[in-house]
């Protein structure tokens, strides 16, 4: 768990065929932090700041995976995920829900909305990376 012992990651050049990850988070610092790390880890990354933008980007870019923060202004993460999962174009895209809310109800609500995984913040970039890797592998 401690990052201290984790070996330093090597920067990987982004391949054209690298999976595209859509990171949705209204808090820019977190969103950019994950984007930066995922890019550093060899993924293509797209960003969205809210639910509507997330839907637009998802339809437009057809990402390989979506990291969805649930607390979003306007259309929130649950609703956005529900709409994505309701649409044939986006139904197959795995969605990893991220939330700062640690209460049990959130996890259940996320799964009901169609999320494929659920991670409670704080979530270190490595942890997210591991989850993404395991998702894309499956």
């Amino acid at each position: 768990m401690s990052p201290r012992r984790a070996p330093a990651a090597k920067a990987t050049p982004v391949a054209a065929k690298a999976p595209l990850i859509l990171v949705v988070d209204d808090f820019a610092d977190n969103r950019e932090m994950y984007s930066q790390f995922l890019s550093f880890s060899g993924y293509r990354v797209a960003e969205a700041q809210n639910g509507h933008e997330a839907l637009e980007k998802a339809f437009e870019l057809a990402p390989d995976l979506i990291v969805m923060d649930l607390s979003l202004p306007g259309l929130d993460g649950w609703e956005a995920t529900r709409q994505l999962k309701a649409d044939d174009r986006t139904r197959v895209i795995p969605v990893i829900a991220l939330t700062g809310h640690a209460l049990a109800g959130h996890s259940k609500g996320a799964m009901d909305a169609g999320c494929d995984a659920f991670i409670t913040k704080p979530c270190l970039p490595e942890r997210l990376l591991e989850e993404i890797k395991s998702m894309l592998k499956g």
Binding site: M1, S2, P3, R4, R5, A6, A8, A9, A11, F27, D29, N30, M33, Y34, Q36, F37, F40, S71, T99, G100, H101, A102, L103, A104, T120, K121, P122, C123, L124, P125, E126
Partner: protein, 716 residues
């Protein structure tokens, strides 16, 4: 002349008076007991021995000592002597003066006139006769001697000295004899009187001996001739003494007692009334006078009268008993019973009826009016029965009033006709039954019904109030729940608000340390590591606070699974391995072989054990830490302990460390970091699993924390 010659002769003879003559006179005087003889011998001696020619001796009679009379004469006699008396009370008489003087008085000499005396001659000597030569009020007598002659004078004096005492002595003896005769006469009279009394009279001394008894008493109590008489008298004596003894004991006076004696003559019983009185006489001493009155006949008559009276009473009692029995039966009936004649007059009633229909003379006008009213009501009721020729009975209610209390007395009356053989109504018997209780019962029943309905109403009201209160309570409970939910929501939000920036801090730090933005200098790396370390600490605190608020809000769900404790311990050791390897401590585990599978919340057990282990490592500078697990079959509990050889916890701190935000050393400069929420959470988690945490510790030697939980959580 011859007289002169005689005088001379006397003188001569006088010279011859010698001691023998005097002795002769003295003997003669002592030799007679009679006063007159004595006086005569003295005069004769004076005539013979002293030559006295005439003489007279005067002595007072025994009963009148103030009048002197002649008792002896010498040479004089006749009526003058017979009629001569000397009254000693006549003080102007010269003879009286001579009588009460001491010495002899000579009259008719030297021109002193002589008083008239039977002696005739002008000269004589008067010598008083005394008992002794002392002055007494009255002399016993007076000695007159003539003619006057010096010798005769002297001899007369000598004779008077001899005669005076002798006469006095004789007079005294005479008087004594007189007294004794009188006493004897009185005594005889007394005896005659006592004997004449038909009742026995006795005088007894204090010893009970009979002193005086009259003839009747003697007949009863003195020894008789034959045997039967003696026995009867002995018995009588015994009975009498016994009665007297009782009287002495009881000591009342006068004392009256019945005494039964035996007639010594015919042996029949004689009943006496014994009346005795104590007499106290200074000379005779104390005695008891007893009078026995024969009351035998009186008693017999009395007894007969009593017996007749008793028979009469018995006959009367028999006659009355029959009636009383009937009365008793009627009176013992608590209900009033009345018998009325055909004119509706009451002829008989029992006691309860009397209370209603007769007025106590002492009662007031009010009570009398009440009785009259009762009577009127009753008569009217009974009369109605007479007007119904065919009816034999009648019953109905009458409103009477109790005369004693004035309280209304509702009664149920039942009247029945009593018909003679000839078919005419002779009387009507009526029984009244008090309906007060019956009515009271009915009233009480009504009251009870009313009270019951009131109670019902009250219960309804109370129930409604309770419902209202329950509603209020429910609402208030709901409000509390809402408040609680709001608090939980607030904490959740706070948690979220903390986590979002912390996510960025930890994320960027992690990226920097991973070299995402290029290699770091050792100094930069050290500083970043501190940021990272503190960020994680902050996160741990936030997680702990969230845990506590979840548990308190009841939002910490239990997830029950079945698992092996051995696996869990291995997992914990693996997870804590990074800390263990940094600590240089020997961390071992010892698990009993018989620990069965558990069914409880695995995550929570794990959290507790991790907490125990990280604490043990943190507070153990050197030595060892051991994780032990065992099963207690008697309680069906499992126990997981973590024992260290660390700094230990003092007894006063052992409880405090389980409180929120506590460490044993709570000072700002404390040596060990940590929020101090770990054990507080562990204790709450153990409680959720129906378990407990115990601590055994010694300062400087180490501590052992033990979690004990049921093998299987019973509730969901």
């Amino acid at each position: 002349m011859s007289r002169h010659a005689a005088l001379r002769t006397v003188v001569r003879r006088r010279a011859k008076v010698d001691a023998a003559d005097r002795l002769k006179l003295a003997e003669a005087l002592l030799g007679t007991d009679d006063l007159a003889t004595c006086a005569q011998r003295a005069l004769d001696w004076l005539g013979r021995a002293a030559g006295a020619t005439r003489g007279l001796c005067l002595v007072g009679p025994p009963d009148t000592p103030t009048v002197l009379e002649p008792i002896a004469t010498l040479g004089v006699r006749g009526p003058r002597v017979q009629s001569f008396t000397l009254d000693l009370e006549a003080h102007d008489d010269p003879l009286v003066a001579a009588s009460i003087g001491l010495g002899a008085s000579i009259f008719g000499r030297n021109g002193r006139p002589a008083p008239r005396t039977p002696l005739e001659s002008g000269r004589f000597i008067a010598t008083p006769l005394h008992a002794r030569q002392t002055l007494e009020e009255y002399p016993v007598g007076l000695l007159l001697v003539a003619p006057s002659d010096p010798d005769v004078e002297a001899e007369a004096k000598w004779v008077a000295g001899l005669l005076g005492p002798r006469l006095t002595a004789l007079r005294a003896a005479q008087r004594r004899q007189e007294g004794e005769r009188r006493i004897l006469r009185e005594r005889t009279l007394l005896y005659n009187i006592i004997n004449a009394v038909s009742d026995p009279i006795l005088l007894t001394d204090t010893e009970g001996r009979i002193t005086v008894a009259n003839a009747r008493a003697e007949a009863l109590l003195s020894a008789g001739d034959d045997e039967g008489r003696r026995r009867a008298i002995a018995l009588n004596n015994m009975l009498f003494s016994s009665a007297l003894t009782r009287r002495a004991i009881e000591g009342a006076e006068p004392w009256r007692h019945e005494l039964l004696l035996v007639d010594p003559v015919d042996g029949s019983d004689l009943l006496f009334e014994l009346l005795s009185t104590v007499t106290v006489d200074p000379r005779e001493g104390t005695g008891i006078v007893s009078i026995l009155r024969n009351v035998t006949d009186l008693r017999r008559a009395t007894q007969e009268i009593e017996e007749n009276y008793r028979k009469l009473r018995l006959a009367e009692a028999d006659a009355r008993a029959e009636r009383d029995r009937l009365d008793l039966i009627i009176d013992s009936v608590a209900d009033p019973i009345l018998v009325t004649d055909p004119n509706a007059n009451i002829v008989m009633m029992n006691a309860p009826a009397e209370r209603l229909f007769t007025a106590d003379p002492a009662a007031g006008a009010e009570a009398r009016r009440t009785v009259q009213a009762n009577d009127a009501h009753f008569s009217s009721f009974v009369s109605n029965l007479f007007f119904e020729p065919g009816a034999m009975r009648r019953s109905g209610s009458i409103g009477l009033v109790d005369p004693r209390t004035g309280a209304p007395l509702p009664v149920e009356a039942i009247s029945g006709k009593i018909v003679s053989e000839h078919g005419e109504v002779t009387a009507i018997v009526t029984i009244l039954h008090d309906r007060t209780e019956e009515l009271e019962r009915a009233r009480l029943y009504e009251e009870l019904k009313r009270a019951s309905s009131e109670l019902e109403q009250k219960v309804r009201e109370a129930t409604a109030e309770l419902t209202r209160q329950n509603e209020l309570l429910r609402r208030s409970h709901f409000e509390i729940e809402q408040a609680s939910a709001a608090k939980s929501q607030f904490l959740a939000n706070m948690s979220h608000e903390f986590r979002t920036p912390l996510n960025a801090i930890l994320g960027y730090t992690s990226m920097l340390l991973k070299g995402v933005t290029g290699e770091l200098t050792p100094h930069q790396r050290r500083n970043l590591e501190r940021v990272d370390s503190n960020g994680h600490h902050l996160l741990a605190i936030i997680n702990d606070i969230l845990d506590i608020s979840r548990i308190e809000a009841g939002k910490m769900p239990l997830t029950l699974t079945q698992f092996d404790l051995k696996d869990l311990v291995a997992e914990v050791l693996a997870e804590v391995e990074p800390i263990i390897s940094r600590s240089q401590l020997a961390v071992t585990s010892q698990l009993a072989g018989d620990v069965p599978l558990l069914k409880t919340d695995r995550q929570k057990i794990k959290q507790i054990v991790i907490n125990f282990l990280t604490n043990a490592i943190k507070f153990t500078p050197q030595g060892s830490v051991e994780v032990r697990a065992g099963y207690m079959p008697d309680m069906d509990h499992i126990a997981v302990s973590v024992a260290d050889t660390g700094i230990g916890i003092s007894p006063e701190d052992r409880e405090r460390i389980f409180e929120d935000f506590r460490q044993a050393d709570n000072s700002p400069t404390r040596e060990y970091t940590g929020a101090g929420l770990g054990l507080a959470i562990c204790r709450r988690l153990a409680g959720m699993l129906d378990g407990a945490i115990t601590l055994d510790s010694e300062v400087g030697r180490g501590s052992t924390f033990t979690l004990s939980v049921p093998r299987e959580v019973k509730r969901a």
